[in-house]
């Protein structure tokens, strides 16, 4: 699979989108394409995009599952706005994905599926190739099903099973088109289907047939090469947000010496963290699949009382259920990490789509004055570091901490410079081991003068027996207290403790290469990529714009107000109706403007650039 007879063109940046039925294996094709792209040294970013149903009936619009990847020889910040190539396995995929394509975009179309019945099913009265629908695009017609079945025939696999290999045919074709290496995928097929030699042979055959089809037919006149990106030296891997987050928790466990305990109830798009951690028992990780979200966080809190890093993973509806227990953790002042992989809301909403609309729930959504620090990663790989930071805050300050990921970060992936474990932060649990009061008394609510953290005394420690609970506690002693002045004091102490975390976090950094920008774009979480890409586009076009991105949403870095006041205009793009904007306006009285989309999808860098440039113009 390496001879090349056709001309080769060098390109810098490509966006590909695979789309087919939920059962068509598009996510697998995408994952493999990415693995090969990564080892080739391109920078990349991915976006899996699939329905909430497991396998909606074949050929229907709701059943379409897609996978998009952008890769380039320079830095890649997003999965790309508009695909250069859409691989459409059937009419449903074609119809649903067409709006994403720019004029002139390429479509690799599986013409075998364009039967009248299939077309009618998605509302095409006539074949879209015949009525001008596809005129704006470059269509490459490929009988993918037939070719796959033909290639696979020699393995003796039945027709139905043979057809299921068509994702590997498509993958082979795209691998040829973009000069992806093939050895990794062949090895993957061998391992994956080791138990089923016939299926293994069939998938290999389909993959090779796809590759050869590109090479031998006239369908594509040229193939494309994308040179490796210049990246910092080191060893890289590709990693998704959920896996990175799970690994970050394990790293924090190793670096703190505390065992990791996950109490969780499955929910999309957070479940993969549970799956990943459940396979890491060799790290002493205990995963507990609870009967519901409340039990999941309850068990995590119980484990924290016993000295573990207690973690619970969920999405928005699960956070709603955990709210009361988070309040208890605030009152108990025990370390706890609540991972919220945000998805489309309200209510069940769009379970497989991304959104940033749980921010205010995390910061403010509890009864009573109940401050909780909030940390958010900015990219899939950054989930690793954000998880360590969340554990650091939780353990150091004896507090529940929110880690706000989202569906895009969770399932999206990017290359990651693998860190040296020895360079990761050390977290000191600083357990109480001795009485801290007079006459050998233990005072569970006597605070550390700097952090205001209370002592963490583990059951099993002789002499420190004590009781804690959700009723208001007397300052210092922790006994139940209904005293008005004490309550006021405790409310303010808890608030001050969380505010004080700001002293332990880096100041908000601004990226403004010219130093002359008057407009600041402020973001948080997964919008980092699109915002950075949009700013880069604008700067390339000669505009001046500054970018800052918040990792800590509560408390804000100490210099945040100062930074914001340094600009004429502050634009806050969010995948919600303006939640960070609300917090920033309230706290700093800065007239920050929102740019808001609630579409279940990451921002398009181009659209964002347009919005920013509109503001730049206003500001002139």
């Amino acid at each position: 699979m390496t001879t090349r007879d056709k001309p080769v063109e060098k390109v810098s940046r490509v966006v590909i989108r695979f789309a087919g039925d939920s059962g068509d294996g598009m996510q697998v094709a995408g994952d493999r394409f990415v693995a090969e792209t990564a080892t080739l040294g391109n920078d990349l970013s991915t976006l899996p995009d699939f329905p909430a149903e497991i396998r909606a009936p074949a050929g229907t619009l709701p059943g379409v599952s897609a996978f998009q990847v952008q890769f380039a020889d320079t830095q890649v910040m997003t999965p790309g706005d508009r695909p250069d190539v859409l691989v459409a396995m059937n009419p449903a995929a074609l119809k649903s994905q067409l709006p994403l394509l720019a004029r002139g975009g390429n479509i690799v179309l599986n013409i075998d599926e364009l039967t009248r019945r299939n077309l009618a099913r998605v509302g095409y009265d006539v074949d879209p190739r015949t009525d001008g629908t596809l005129d704006p695009y470059v269509v490459h017609e490929v009988p993918i099903t037939t070719l796959t079945v033909g290639a696979v025939a020699k393995t003796g696999l039945g027709r139905k099973d043979a057809e299921r290999c068509k994702n590997f045919f498509a993958l082979g074709l795209m691998s040829w088109l973009y000069h992806r290496p093939t050895a990794g995928t062949l090895a993957y097929i061998d391992t994956k289907f080791a138990d089923q030699p016939q299926v293994c042979a069939a998938n290999r055959a389909a993959f090779e047939a796809g590759w050869s089809f590109g090479e031998t037919t006239e369908i594509f006149a040229v193939s494309y090469q994308v040179a490796p990106a210049t990246m910092a030296p080191g060893t890289y891997r590709n990693i998704s947000g959920n896996v990175a987050l799970a690994y970050g928790l394990v790293a924090a466990s190793e670096r703190s010496g505390l065992p990791l305990f996950l109490g969780s109830y499955p929910i999309t798009p957070a479940s993969d963290i549970l799956h990943t951690l459940s396979a890491l028992k060799r790290f002493g990780v205990r995963t507990f699949q609870a009967e519901d979200e409340i039990a999941g966080i309850g068990a995590a809190l119980g484990a924290a009382f016993g000295g573990a890093i207690g973690v619970t993973t969920t999405s928005g509806p699960g956070v709603a259920l955990k709210t009361e227990t988070i309040g208890l953790a605030v009152s108990l002042e025990l370390p706890l990490v609540i991972v919220d992989v945000q998805r489309g809301g309200p209510s069940t909403g769009l379970p497989t789509k991304t959104e940033q609309a749980d921010l205010l729930q995390a910061v403010l959504g509890r009864n009573g004055e109940s401050p909780v620090p909030v940390v958010a990663p900015r990219s899939p790989a950054d989930c690793f570091h954000a998880a360590i930071e969340a554990v650091r805050i939780a353990v150091t300050y004896r507090t529940p901490v929110f880690l706000l990921s989202d569906g895009y970060l969770a399932n999206g992936s990017e290359p990651w410079l693998i860190p040296d474990p020895a360079g990761l932060p050390i977290i000191n649990p600083d357990f109480a081991t001795e009485p801290n009061g007079d006459n050998g008394a233990f005072l569970p609510y006597a605070r550390h003068p700097d952090t205001l953290a209370r002592p963490w005394a583990l059951p099993g420690t002789p002499g420190l027996e004590h009781r804690i609970g959700g009723l208001e506690k007397a300052d210092v002693t922790g006994d139940i207290s209904y005293d008005p002045a004490n309550h006021d004091r405790m409310v303010r102490l808890r608030a001050a403790k969380v505010e004080g975390i700001a002293r332990s976090i880096p100041p908000l950094a601004v990226e403004d290469p010219s130093g002359a920008a008057t407009v600041l774009v402020l973001g948080w979480g997964s919008t980092y990529g699109p915002i950075a890409a949009a700013c880069a586009q604008l700067r390339a076009a000669g505009c001046q714009v500054a970018q800052a991105h918040l990792r800590h949403l509560a408390p804000f870095p100490a210099n945040t107000g100062e930074v914001l006041r340094g600009y004429d205009k502050v634009l806050i793009p969010e995948m919600n109706l303006g939640q960070l904007a609300l917090l920033v306006r309230a706290k700093f009285l800065v007239d920050a403007v929102g740019y808001n989309q609630v579409r279940g999808l990451p921002f398009s860098a181009t659209e964002l650039a347009e919005a920013i440039s509109a503001l730049l113009e206003e500001d002139q």
Partner: protein, 333 residues
């Protein structure tokens, strides 16, 4: 005097388990009697104080941990079994008790309780059943009798109550018992039986709330009536009260008015099939007290610990660097 506990030498005494907090139950409340019995019983475990934890929910009963000088958590309503699960599973070295009420444990917290029992988590659950919500001042509870008139049911409640013993037997509980607040000897015997085993123990304790549901169990306590009103179950002994015997009926077990009936059923607490214990749980007036079911089962924390050990044996101790690297890397020079 072989071990010490924070300077307190073993064996411990009741006093060692008495905290400095003022007990805040109503005078006359049955909770006092239970507290005293438990404090007296704890030294018999031979466990250092610091290795004992009481976890409770919310309710009058759930104030219990404040009064026992061990580690303790007064958590939130209904969630103690879940919290205790996390603690017990991650700290198999501890002895974890859950104290709950009929509202806390069977109303809002019913699901956690049942799931903890089916998992056989290593916790001892004491459910103080006073058939009323005490702390919220007297609404009916899931164990209140049908037709009960309370603040929230001025014309009588409409719900058929749960039978806590039947309920937990339906949920695969492996140690199930019932006792009475003021019967110190009996309660101690049940606690002792529970201590002898691995995994979950569920003990329902009839408890008098003298403010909102006074004398609910009086017939079982009154010296004049108690022997007729209770069946004291002893494994291997016939099941009978002072005036009746338990015999087999077509659908389950039934009572006959003959305390010396020759067909009186012999109690088998170790029957693997929970159907026998279930049938016993349906009897009332006289009401069985003691251990309904006691069958061995490996505890959840042990199973989990075994998996961790097996994983390390098979795959070696986790190595962070190789985890982070994974199998698919490339290098930029």
């Amino acid at each position: 005097m072989t071990a010490t506990t924070g300077g307190t030498p073993l064996p411990l005494t009741k006093k060692d388990f008495t905290s400095d907090q003022e007990v805040r139950w109503c005078p006359g409340c049955g909770d006092y009697a239970i507290l005293s019995t438990v404090q007296s019983y704890l030294p018999s475990l031979g466990i250092p104080r610091e290795n004992v934890v009481f976890v409770s929910g919310i309710g009058c009963s759930s104030r219990f941990p404040y009064y026992v000088d061990t580690y303790g958590m007064h958590s939130i309503h209904g969630r103690a079994p879940a919290i205790a699960t996390g603690l017990a599973v991650s700290r198999p070295d501890l002895k974890v008790f859950v104290v709950t009420g009929d509202g806390d444990g069977l109303s809002i917290g019913g699901n956690h309780l049942l799931h903890a029992l089916r998992r056989n988590v290593n916790i001892t659950i004491l459910l103080f059943n006073n058939q009323i919500y005490g702390l919220t001042k007297g609404q009916y509870s899931p164990t209140s009798e049908f037709g009960k008139i309370t603040k929230s049911t001025p014309m009588g409640s409409l719900d058929v109550p749960f039978n806590p013993i039947s309920l937990v037997l339906g949920a695969e509980a492996s140690f199930v018992a019932r006792s009475i607040d003021t019967d110190r000897a009996h309660l101690t015997s049940v606690l002792t039986a529970a201590a002898a085993r691995e995994g979950s123990a569920f003990i329902e304790i009839y408890q008098n709330c003298n403010i909102f549901n006074d004398n609910a169990f009086q017939a079982m306590k009154d010296p004049a009536s108690r022997d007729a009103q209770t069946i004291r179950m002893v494994h291997g002994e016939p099941l009978r009260s002072a005036t009746t015997s338990v015999i087999r009926g077509p659908g389950g077990l039934m009572l006959v008015d003959d305390p010396a009936h020759p067909d009186a059923v012999i109690h088998d607490a170790h029957s693997v099939d929970p159907s026998f214990a279930f049938a016993l749980s349906r009897l009332k007036a006289p009401t069985p007290i003691g251990v309904f079911r006691d069958v061995p089962r490996t505890s959840y924390d042990r199973l989990m610990g075994d998996q961790l050990a097996a994983a390390r044996e098979r795959q070696g101790r986790g190595d962070l660097a190789s985890l982070l690297a994974g199998n698919d890397t490339w290098t930029v020079a």
